[in-house]
């Protein structure tokens, strides 16, 4: 038997049939659905008189356009309300479980899957959302798909794919205090570029990855898409199993023992071959901050805004010039010290309980700078409840943060949480594209502790000095 990678194993386990030209029909174990990319898919099913093949393998929630303010009030935006209502109607009609706004299980789709224990090693998971790569942290092959594919999966429980290539990102060494998973993945994207892993599934390996908690692994896998990857994966280990044990949708009793035995097989053989490899020394990574309008435009907090004239190609120079103009930054400006107006602690990248604990440790007993408006948007209502039980809500509120309900919120600004034109934001989310958080808004991506420290100081700051 030839040596296989983790990805090979998960892929092979899901091939229903090999079609022509290297294309396969693959079986989907878990299909996650949200309100924004699904209405047209359900309409298509209805139009063709088709049913959902495996409703019990489909989970729906509302996250993208829901308000994070008071939940007892109706949604003020009638268009958003219609989309949320459409998902309720569709879930009811097609027999799909829905975590709606009133549910204590509601939250960002990529936070609730793992939290329920629905996300498990070796699964093939899809969702009409690019950050589905998050679930790869459990050793699942998890990828974002478009709405036509959502409809296809609903109708057939299968997806047609050409097998992507496999890239190993080996991350070794120990992280310095104050530096975390977000810094690792931003540094990697900075190194390989926003299209560095296009057409590939990344497997993250190395002792630095092994040392990460599940929350941190999810942060790393989450941003695989920002390097262009089809998915990111980490082989499951004792950390994974400890996280899953006892969760509501995880196997119990004898089924748990059997599952563990199977899950342990999802790993790469020592002599497995990857199509490409990249290495990163974690001990040399400092806190990362983006300065431009793609996640690849990133630098160490101790660096300065780069000079486009110094970049290698005409293409890069033009892109950087445009980005600096949009961001209102001058070449040579130290990143540390750039004043901010807003802070967003949230998103499927960094709004899990550990993220909130880490940020709370920074702000405890301090106060948000007078010029800054800061908000915390927990990744799910369960994360919110857990944080409140630990008193973190009080820590944030006392420091001057707004404490919100769960949703995607200002990561993409579909709901009322948006930046105004020219406002500069320290964000724990995943995309700093032009207008992403609001038209004319300027986003600097960073870790939760870096964003928390920036909130207190009123400008970008090196959290290691705290």
């Amino acid at each position: 038997m030839t040596a296989r990678t983790l990805f090979d194993r998960v892929w092979d386990a899901h091939v229903v049939r090999a079609l022509a030209d290297g294309v396969s029909l693959l079986y989907v174990d878990l299909h996650l659905v949200h309100e924004v990319t699904s209405p047209q898919a359900f309409a298509g099913l209805r139009h063709a008189g088709r049913k959902v093949r495996r409703p019990e393998r489909t989970l729906a929630t509302v996250d993208h356009n829901v308000p994070t303010s008071e939940r007892t009030l109706p949604i003020a935006d009638p268009v958003a309300a219609r989309q949320v209502d459409a998902l309720s109607t569709n879930a009811r009609e097609f027999g799909i479980e829905l975590f709606d706004l009133a549910s204590p299980g509601q939250g960002i789709v990529h936070v609730i899957g793992p939290e329920l224990g629905a996300t498990q090693p070796g699964m093939l998971i899809v969702c009409g959302d690019s950050h589905t790569s998050t679930h790869g942290a459990f050793g699942a092959f998890a990828l974002g798909i478009g709405t036509s594919e959502v409809e296809h999966v609903l109708a057939t429980q299968c997806i047609v794919l050409s097998k992507p290539r496999n890239l190993e990102a080996r991350i070794s060494g120990s992280l310095e205090p104050g530096v975390g998973a977000k810094d690792l993945i931003l540094a990697l994207i900075g190194k390989i570029g926003t299209a560095g892993a296009t057409g590939h599934v990344i497997e993250y390996t190395g002792d630095a990855i092994r040392a990460l908690s599940m929350e941190e692994r999810m942060t790393v896998c989450n941003m695989s898409i920002e390097a262009g990857a089809r998915a990111g994966m980490i082989a499951p280990d004792e950390v994974t199993f400890a996280y899953l044990g006892g969760r509501p949708r995880a196997p119990q009793g004898a089924a748990w023992t059997a599952a563990l035995e199977r899950w342990r097989t999802f790993r790469s053989d020592p002599n497995a071959r990857y199509d490409a490899q990249v290495q990163l020394d974690a001990s040399r990574v400092g806190p990362q901050v983006t300065w431009g309008t793609t996640p690849g435009m990133v630098a160490d907090i101790k660096a300065r805004v780069p000079d486009p004239a110094q970049l290698a190609t005409e293409n890069e120079r033009e892109a950087a010039l445009r980005a600096l103009e949009y961001m209102g930054l001058k070449p040579g400006t130290p990143l540390e010290g750039i004043p901010i107006d807003r802070v967003f602690l949230g998103s499927c990248t960094n709004a899990r309980i550990e993220d909130l604990r880490a940020a709370a440790n920074i702000v405890r007993g301090r106060h948000v700078a007078s010029r800054v408006r800061a908000m915390v948007v927990p990744g799910s209502q369960r994360v919110k409840a857990q944080a409140e039980q630990e008193g973190l809500d009080r820590v944030f509120r006392d420091a001057g943060f707004e404490w919100r309900n769960a949703g995607c919120s200002m990561c993409l600004g579909m709901n009322p949480d948006v930046l105004g034109a020219g406002e500069r934001c320290a964000a724990t989310s995943n995309r700093n594209f032009e207008g992403r958080q609001g038209r004319g808004g300027r986003t600097h991506l960073m870790s939760p502790v870096m964003a928390a420290a920036a909130a207190i100081e009123g400008h970008l700051v090196d959290v290691r000095a705290w």
Partner: protein
Amino acid sequence: MVKPFVRHRGKVAALPRRDVDTDQIIPKQFLKGVERTGFGSGLFFDWRADPGFELNQPAAQGATILVTGANFGCGSSREHAVWALAEYGFRAIIAPSFADIFLANCFRNGVLPVKLAANEVAMVTQRAQDAGYEVVVDLEQQVVSDDRGFTARFSADAYGRELLLRGLDEIGRTLLEEPSITAYERSHP
């Protein structure tokens, strides 16, 4: 059903930028609808507010082919980006590279993504500055050509090519695999 694409001759508009993300192609405020239509007017909404934007130029009016930079369609999986491009009138996008999810979405909506070498993209981009410049995109032969002797071969994803050439209903096609799917389910309870 996918609108078939076999061969298309059309006017070219150039957007020489790399890493054009789907948030630019169709901003968030247009994603709240529950229909598949109504996205054309939102295409590049924020950029189109600038009179200097490439697609606002008289020479770009009526274009059905877009030539652009590397990593086009990166970021969000929103298929609305392809719906907007198609509704605006684009049938083919020429670029040095595309993001994976965007590429898959194109094939399912009758829009052909054409990957050409950087120097070929540069040539088409340059010629697109001339009013009325047209190219022919032939998916059957996998060739892009113009009337001035430019010819470039491309290699489309085999499955996507079949979907486009035959205008297939992908779900209907997969449902023909029913016996295999059922067999898989039986062996993986």
